[in-house]
């Protein structure tokens, strides 16, 4: 019998005690997926067999965002363009998870080519928020967040270009960790915006996130942006005291656009950090208000270059009524891409085109340098920065889909972290008083200092759980 509220940690203990076998655990999750997925649409593909190995995650069933390649299986990236695409090789993170003994339950839904904030841009229909099926799970790793929140996997991999792990984690009430850019190999991740993309995990607890991160990190010869820094055991120092830790709260985070119910939960969470002995300091990130504008030039510019490879020649959708080579390119792309990729390809092409490059792309990359400098300056005086993950709790399906800019604004607290390449984690911090939906506290660290954000998130989570039990 598989217990309820099972985590990776408790599953590993249960497997060690032989309370259940790896096969029973896999079958348990398969049954849950068959039963619950038709309503949620969290999974796009299910795998039939478990290939459990040995290692620190031996026998742990997980879900993989469907823009990460698993050899010999379908990877759609949420697009009609890749409806029948079979992956030619394993992504590096998949090789690492195999080596750690994890098993794969299936591939999860996402906004097409990881562009969006609600998973409504998937060509395979939206995923529903497990807490309320009339609401979005966030995005773009919405399928991964919903799978973990609904206990359809013990953990899931996601990718985060502008908040795509942290924001759905926040909206679904799970933990979402985006490591520092360069920590985790992107080899085998279908590229969205290459200078921003980073693979990370969605888990039920912070301890589980640390455990999964242990297996994902490291230099990779197939991704020359990965660093050769040593990788610590991220679970080792989770319980070290955080008394006297300096916590920065940017005043710019609490301005127009932040919903009252999220603000209320974040302010209460800051009180909890104070109770844990942290020293709270108000700080300023002067260029914060420009981050989203810079992001929505850099992101589409990189997308327009990355998506140029989808041309109907080697793989992916190819138009069957093209007459010439140029026709093949144009018609395959026009038929295969959905509205959001087209919008961003157009925007990026414009920003990079002759005569506009300096005004848009170059300007945005300069503002990006200012944003990075703001963080560097802030980290002279504080050890971590905290604030909301997203301005709102989960919104209704269809509520914002007709207004692209309104959807982009949901990323306002997360994009600057990607522009600066920093690590960030979203940890659940209660339910909003109005919507009764989850709110996430975002904790941002210095480059390659995942240890400290995990430690704070872990102790914050533990104190919250204790308070919940005693109330």
């Amino acid at each position: 019998m598989i217990p309820e509220k099972i985590t990776i940690k408790s599953a590993l203990e249960g497997l060690a005690r032989r309370d259940f076998s790896a096969g029973e655990l896999f079958n348990h999750y398969q049954k849950r997926i068959v039963q619950l997925n038709p309503n949620l649409n969290a999974y796009l593909t299910m795998f039939e067999t478990a290939q459990a190995g040995e290692g620190p995650l031996a026998g742990i069933p997980c879900a993989i965002k469907d823009n990460i390649l698993i050899e010999g299986t379908r990877t759609t990236a949420g697009s009609k363009m890749l409806e029948n695409y079979i992956s030619a090789y394993d992504a590096t993170v998949i090789k690492k998870l195999r080596a750690a003994g994890a098993t794969f339950l299936g591939k999860t839904n996402l906004d097409e080519f990881a562009m969006g904030t609600s998973t409504e841009n998937s060509a395979y229909g939206p995923t529903k928020n497990p807490m309320d099926h009339s609401r979005v799970p966030g995005g773009t790793s919405g399928g991964s967040a919903a799978a973990v929140a609904a206990d359809l996997a013990l953990f899931a991999l996601g990718s985060d270009t502008g908040g795509s792990i942290r924001q759905p984690a926040s909206l679904c009430g799970v933990v979402g960790l985006k490591p520092t850019y360069g920590r985790v190999s992107r080899h085998g991740l279908i590229a969205t915006a290459s200078s921003l993309d980073q693979i990370g995990c969605l888990t039920k607890t912070v301890y589980d996130a640390a455990l999964v991160l242990n297996t994902l990190c490291g230099h990779d010869i197939f991704d020359s942006t990965t660093v050769k820094n040593s990788v610590p055991d991220f679970t080792a120092k989770l319980d070290l005291s955080i008394k006297g830790l300096r916590v920065g709260v940017p005043k710019e985070f609490f301005s127009a656009g932040l919903s009252a119910e999220v603000e209320e939960r974040i302010k209460a969470s800051i009180k909890v950090l104070e109770k844990l002995g942290c020293e709270i300091k108000e700080i300023s990130l002067p260029n914060f208000e420009y981050a989203l504008a810079a992001y929505y030039i850099i992101n589409p510019a990189e997308i327009s270059a990355n998506l140029a490879r989808f041309d109907g020649i080697r793989y992916g959708h190819s138009s069957d009524h093209a007459e010439s080579l140029l026709d093949t390119y144009v018609q395959s792309r026009s038929e295969g891409f959905g509205p959001e990729p087209k919008r961003r390809i157009m925007l990026g092409t414009y920003a990079l085109s002759s005569g506009y490059y300096d005004a848009y792309y170059l300007k945005a990359q300069k503002v990006r340098a200012l944003i990075k400098k703001d963080f560097n300056d802030a980290f002279q005086n504080v050890d971590i920065i905290v604030g909301p993950t997203a301005p709102n709790t989960a919104f209704k399906l269809g509520e914002k889909i007709s207004d692209p800019l309104a959807l982009y604004l949901e990323d306002i607290y997360t994009v600057s972290v990607n522009l600066a390449g920093l690590p960030g984690i979203s940890v659940p911090c209660g339910l909003g008083s109005k919507s009764n939906m989850p709110v996430g506290l975002q904790i941002i660290g210095k480059s390659f200092d995942e240890e400290i954000i995990l430690r704070v998130a872990h102790q914050f989570e533990s104190l919250q759980n204790r308070d919940k039990l005693s109330s």
């Binding site: 200078s195 420009y290 504008a293 929505y296 793989y315 190819s318 891409f337 087209k342 170059l362």
Partner: protein, 101 residues
């Protein structure tokens, strides 16, 4: 506001063919996004170097030799070439570059 001609020029550069309704909605959406990003003009970036990547890794090089990580097998060959819409033996076949018209 972008003009219709600008929208068509960008689409041509991006190798996209837009329907009339796509042209209308993209003109509106792109214009509103460009209006929003225009706020960057308020920043002073005099003497600021652009930041293209964040890790500080410079010139990541390796020895120029075959590493043999992907030994070619019939299965891999099929995954790499067999997914093309047209092929001839081990080659991907494409349509003619010059128009017959």
């Amino acid at each position: 506001m972008l003009t219709d001609a600008e929208v068509e020029r960008i689409a041509r550069l991006a190798r996209l063919e837009l329907t009339d309704s796509e042209k209308v909605s993209l003109k509106k959406d792109l214009s509103s996004i460009l209006d929003y990003v225009a706020k960057l003009d308020a920043t002073d970036t005099t003497g600021v170097e652009p930041l293209y990547q964040t890790t500080g890794v410079v010139n990541s090089t390796r020895t120029d030799e075959a590493r043999g990580e992907f030994p070619m097998t019939p299965t891999l060959e099929e995954l790499l070439i067999g997914q093309a819409p047209a092929r001839k033996e081990r080659f991907v076949k494409v349509k003619s570059i010059l128009s017959k018209k």
